[in-house]
């Protein structure tokens, strides 16, 4: 069933939305009221200035309100961040988390952050440059200046983007020079530890002409019962003919509120696959933007979310076709348990002259309980000719015939439902076309289903 169309954004339960909106908005205060103490050291002036400006912008911007179209359907009660503050992990905690950073069997570089501080880096085999962002400023200042936080937060999250830019004194910079194909993925672990601790993961990936790289990021909490607040920003810049595969595996603890801002810039004949797996958190706002800046550019935007309890998954996307003969393939899949909610607002924007654009924007919700809510607001804005665009948003329950097929083979209905839901959620992962990453994600998704269905 199609639950909403571009012309008539709809909610499955608009009355609830209305009543939830009453009660005012949260705030970002406490530690965030005070200006961060930056160590400017030898950092270039543009960078320190950018942070300063970002802080001022953060203070100036209002909290998103319920009348903001870009926050439509969001449960504003969840936007109270006043209890969070910076927390410094101790040596034992850091050591333990380094120990617990498990991912792929093989990687070309490996970086571990705890509460935003880089604690370990095994960098730079296989021709990939992988450096702490601040260290990279010396050699790659010009590249970073071009891209650092530029155009982030366009879909409503500007205040969070500003906070991130002001707070992010540590991040990772991945750079691949012309023609270099990096053999194994770059792997980045982001941990948050301590009750009410914060993290501002920042990742900038740039590939030069005909280069290629995969980057896998893991977002995790040291302890599931600790609240936390994470505002992450990732930027992927694929220059002419290059290729980036990006996977973000969000497994924050169940009391973590998270904002994830992803921005992709794709050049001529370049291709980027961005995949975000939302397998944790209490609330997650995800904004993903792809700018297709050169003819032949391609962007695959994949998201898999498995929500339960009172979790809210708020997703806003933009597929921006600035040049002709560009393609974007979006696929968002949400499996909703308990009383969880999903919000999907997507826009395909085709600029004047961006003819022969192909853009697809399906969002699929699998409703696994009677109390879940799925809101979809797909949109098209087309100013060119010969364009193939489609959006389709569906919300459905598991088909009885599918369950019967399992049951007729001796599988219990409970396991049948779980396997069907796992199938629903892992299906887009095959698009990543990397066996090791696929295997890892499928295992993590399977574990998530074990956790939410136990």
């Amino acid at each position: 069933m199609i639950d909403a169309l571009a012309e008539a954004p709809g909610s499955m339960d608009s009355e609830t939305e209305e009543s939830r909106a009453i009660g005012g908005f949260g705030s970002i205060s406490s530690a965030f009221e005070t200006k961060p103490e930056w160590e400017n050291g030898n950092l270039p002036e543009w960078f320190t200035k950018a942070r300063e400006e970002a802080w001022n912008e953060f203070l100036r911007l209002p909290m998103p309100g319920r009348k903001d179209e870009s926050w439509r359907f969001a449960n504003v009660k969840l936007h109270d961040f006043s209890s969070f503050q910076a927390f410094e992990a101790d040596a034992d905690q850091i050591e333990e988390l380094i120990e617990r950073s498990h991912g792929l069997a093989e990687s070309s570089a490996r970086v571990i952050f705890v509460n935003g501080r880089m604690v370990k880096i095994d960098a730079g085999s296989d021709g990939v440059v992988c450096l702490p962002l601040v260290d990279a400023l010396a050699e790659y200042g010009a590249v970073i200046e071009n891209h650092f936080m530029n155009r982030q937060g366009q879909l409503g999250g500007r205040k969070f983007a500003a906070l991130h830019a002001a707070r992010s004194d540590s991040g990772v910079f991945v750079y691949v020079s012309k023609g270099v194909e990096v053999a194994h993925p770059v792997e980045v672990f982001h941990w948050v530890v301590g009750d009410n601790a914060t993290a501002f993961p920042h990742t900038l990936v740039v590939t030069e002409q005909n280069a290629s790289v995969s980057v896998v990021e893991h977002f995790q909490s040291a302890n599931d019962d600790e609240a936390g607040f994470a505002v992450g920003a990732v930027k992927l810049v694929a220059n002419t003919g290059s290729r980036i595969n990006y996977v973000g595996s969000q497994r924050w603890g169940s009391k973590v509120k998270a904002v994830n801002l992803a921005l992709t810039e794709v050049g001529r004949d370049a291709s980027v696959t961005g995949c975000i797996a939302q397998l944790g958190s209490a609330w997650c706002r995800s904004e993903a933007v792809s700018h297709l800046n050169g003819p032949g550019a391609n962007s695959d935007m994949i998201s898999v979310a498995i929500a339960n309890g009172d979790q809210e998954i708020d997703q806003r996307t933009l597929q921006h076709h600035a040049q002709p003969s560009t393609t974007s393939n979006l696929l968002y899949k949400n499996a909703l348990y308990g009383r969880s909610r999903s919000i999907f607002a997507g826009l395909i924007q085709v600029d004047q002259g961006a003819h022969q654009t192909d853009a697809y924007q399906p969002c699929r919700n699998l409703l696994l309980s009677d109390e879940v809510e799925a809101n979809s607001m797909p949109g098209l804005e087309i100013n060119a000719d010969g364009v193939k665009c489609s959006h389709g948003s569906t919300s459905s329950q598991i088909d009885d015939d599918e369950i019967f097929y399992f049951v007729a083979r001796g599988i219990t209905p409970r396991i049948a439902r779980k396997l069907i839901a796992i199938g629903f959620s892992t299906e887009p992962i095959q698009r990543l076309k990397n066996e090791a990453i696929e295997e890892l994600l499928v295992a993590q998704i399977g574990q998530r289903f074990e956790d939410v269905t136990q």
């Binding site: 009885d400 399992f406 049951v407 007729a408 001796g410 599988i411 396991i415 396997l419």
Partner: protein, 260 residues
């Protein structure tokens, strides 16, 4: 004496079965015995209730049994939920196998086998794949199908071969094949029949439901039954199938009209 009683019970016994869907009675007192070791074919015109029979046996929720009983080796089948029936040794090959996106064939069959193991016991992956590949080779199914989603995008023949593959892996005691020949070309039909024939054994009973006699050229039945309007109206040897093919179902209907 006791042994004899037991052997008498080694059958799928359908007694005066009545079933309906959406308030409409489809099975109107159907009786049939399928002893282990035998292949029984049910033929019948469209709308006679053939597929309803297979779904009622498999335990589909949409159908309500309003009378009669079904015993599998003496155990009341109708009291069991569908998954338990399967684990107890009943298999139904679907006329329209269901597509399950995102669930690989291997994982599906593995889950079905795992469901048959006692709690805490894990299926051995190496043995599983060895057995799976061997059966796939027999059924001329490309090994790539282990990783493909169950039935998704398969041709008619591939879907039916996949049903037989599941049957071969689960090694049931009683197999109900619901119009397994529908949508098959002759080559696919031969492969499917070969797979079924390979499973014929003194320890296994088959109920082959079909509209056409053609399938029975390849899976030779011990008994043929004609089903009309929710009942078995005639039973005989394999010659009955040929007679039906020649004279058409009107012949049985006409005879019924005469005797009525």
């Amino acid at each position: 004496m006791e042994a004899q009683t037991q052997s008498q019970q080694m059958k799928l016994e359908i007694k005066d079965l009545h079933a309906r869907i959406d308030g409409q009675e489809i099975l109107k007192g159907l009786s049939l015995d399928i002893p282990k070791g035998e292949v029984h074919a049910i033929m019948g015109p469209n709308g006679s209730g053939k597929s309803t029979l297979s779904k009622v046996l498999a335990g589909h929720d949409d159908y309500e049994v309003t009378g009669g009983e079904v015993l599998m080796d003496g155990v009341n089948l109708l009291e069991m939920p569908a998954d338990e029936r399967s684990r107890a040794g009943l298999f139904m090959a679907f006329q329209y196998p269901v597509e399950i996106p995102g669930v690989s064939n291997a994982n599906f069959i593995r889950a079905a086998l795992q469901a048959r193991l006692p709690n805490g016991e894990e299926l051995d992956a190496v043995d599983f794949y060895k057995a799976l590949y061997a059966k796939m080779d027999e059924l001329e199914i490309d090994r790539k199908f282990t990783a493909r989603s169950v039935n998704e995008g398969y041709s008619g023949g591939e879907k039916k071969r996949n049903e037989i593959l599941q049957m071969a892996m689960l090694e049931p005691f009683y197999c109900v094949l619901d119009e397994t020949d529908s949508g098959l070309d002759i080559d696919a039909l031969k492969i499917v029949a070969k797979g079924v024939n390979a499973m014929r054994s003194p320890y296994r009973g088959f109920l082959v439901i079909t509209h056409y006699q053609r399938l029975l050229d390849y899976i030779e039945p011990d008994h043929v039954h004609v089903m009309v309007n929710g009942r078995i109206v005639r039973s005989g040897g394999k010659g009955l199938a040929l007679e039906l093919e020649e004279k058409g179902y009107d012949w049985v209907r006409d005879e019924l009209a005469v005797t009525a």
